[in-house]
């Protein structure tokens, strides 16, 4: 049976797993945005934190994904359900590009612009919301884009701990030594990654300073 026939026959399951995949990626990206952007702002404001925060996020990034799932297994509440575990791991991986790009985006804003704003009597908060974040938004979205694309790929591994997603087909196909089954997971995952990359790329260009 070729891959297209297999996908056609199992289209409902593929759709379910795709939605599950999207959910894992979506929730973890959202969490990473909520945690990572404020951390990036914090690091840009108080340079004391830049070594521990960026260093920490870097270290997480070096942990192999299967090992990270394993490390988190004994954690209370989190370890109790596979999807929680997968979401936490994906969130941790997505943090680095978000923190780093938020930091780099803010630091990249022209000093003269910041100084003009400060000199005219803008408060630190007004500068952040009206000047720094809008001017950094293109770079921050670029960070979200990297995080999402990486997460779509990484989320396939989550199936190894039973968290579902398109990795289910990949692992099943590996066990069955059946390429059609592997591809039924891999093709939609690749498609999701490309779609996310394209749409966030559009947004990034839209937000970049003219």
């Amino acid at each position: 049976m070729n891959v297209w026939q297999f996908m056609l026959q199992n289209h409902t399951e593929i759709l379910d797993l795709t939605l599950e995949h999207l959910w894992l990626v979506g929730i973890s990206t959202l969490l990473a945005v909520v945690v990572g952007i404020p951390l990036g702002i914090l690091v840009s404001r108080w340079p004391v934190f830049d070594k521990p925060v960026l260093g920490g996020a870097n270290i997480i990034q070096t942990i192999p994904s299967l090992a990270l799932f394993g490390f988190l297994l004994p954690a209370p509440w989190i370890g109790a359900r596979a999807d929680r575990l997968a979401i936490l791991a994906l969130t941790l991986y997505a943090l680095l590009p978000l923190i780093r790009n938020t930091y780099a985006g803010i630091k990249g804003v022209d000093r003269a612009v910041i100084e003009a704003g400060r000199g005219m009597g803008m408060t630190d908060r007004q500068l952040l919301w009206q000047v720094e974040l809008p001017l950094a938004s293109g770079v921050i979205i670029a960070g979200v884009r990297v995080a999402v694309v990486v997460s779509v790929g990484l989320a396939t591994i989550a199936a190894a701990i039973g968290a579902g997603g398109l990795g289910e087909f990949i692992f099943r196909g590996l066990a069955m030594v059946n390429n059609a089954v592997i591809l039924a997971g891999a093709i939609p995952a690749a498609f999701l990654a490309l779609l996310a990359d394209f749409s966030l790329g559009r947004l990034e260009r839209h937000l970049s300073p003219r």
Binding site: D110, A112, G117, R118, G119, M120, G121, M122, V131
Partner: protein, 259 residues
């Protein structure tokens, strides 16, 4: 220096020094008074301490020693945000917000001062006219303007909330000579009308002579001398002479050129 007795000076430096964290002194014991309604030009080469002096006034820098008074009150007693909104600030064109339209750039201080929108709009229109810009420019972004237009926007923005004091850091520095001369003339006319207290930083002697009520010559973090433009041209202090020669401004003195 003789301060007018009938009123407090707009700005007064008393023995103000500024040092970097590494101990390098950028400004050494500056004592200087800026009178109300005058245009004081800080003239000097790069690194002479002009910009440092300017930034001390709106507290972008804080004195390492000495005391500084704005409107008769020590800057230590001013709320820094209030102080800055009391003082207009214009720098080279790079200081415009690239993601704000011209109207939002000009209306920035009124907006953070929470003026009602209709009043801001009215003020923006007024200012566009004042600095000689077409009202249709309001919707444009700084990136779509010429250097001269951007600079007019910068001046309009500094004037937005009608501050009594204006700080200008080489505002015409990045312009071509022709546009530059145009804006200098217009600014001079504007200043004669508005009578703000202006502190103007430049390294261009001709600009200093044209716009200054007085010229404070700075060198190596010290105030060298203060002169009116007429006195400046008559002075035979070596540093002044060096400037006059460097700018070929000898002809200002009424001397003939080389035979």
């Amino acid at each position: 220096m003789n301060t007018p007795v009938d009123q407090t000076p707009a700005i007064e430096f008393r023995n103000v020094s500024y040092r970097l964290e590494n101990g390098k002194e950028l400004l050494h014991r500056l004592t200087l008074t800026v009178r109300r309604g005058e245009t004081l030009v800080l003239l000097g080469r790069s690194g002479s301490g002009k910009t440092t002096t300017l930034k001390l006034i709106n507290q972008l820098l804080v004195p390492s020693a000495g005391e500084l008074f704005v409107d008769g009150r020590s800057t230590r007693d001013w709320d820094v945000i209030r102080l800055r909104r009391f003082i207009g600030y214009a720098i080279q064109e790079t200081g415009l917000f690239p993601h704000f339209t011209v109207a939002r750039n000009i209306g920035l201080v009124p907006q953070i001062e929470k003026w009602p929108a209709s009043r801001i709009q009215q003020r923006v229109e007024e200012l566009l006219q004042l600095v000689g810009l077409d009202p249709q420019m309001a919707a444009r972004y700084p990136g779509e303007l010429s250097g001269g237009q951007r600079q007019r926007v910068g001046v309009a923005r500094a004037l937005a909330a009608d501050p009594p004091i204006l700080l200008m850091d080489e505002p015409f520095g990045a312009l071509d000579p022709l546009t530059r001369a145009e804006l200098q003339q217009e600014f001079r006319a504007l200043q004669q009308r508005l009578r703000k207290t202006v502190v103007f930083v430049t390294h261009d002697l001709n600009e200093a002579l044209l716009l200054g009520t007085r010229i404070a010559l700075m060198e190596d973090g010290r105030l060298f001398s203060t002169h009116t433009p007429e006195e400046f041209l008559q002075s035979d202090e070596p540093l002044v002479t060096a400037y006059l020669e460097a700018f070929g401004a000898d002809n200002h003195r009424g001397k003939r050129g080389q035979p």
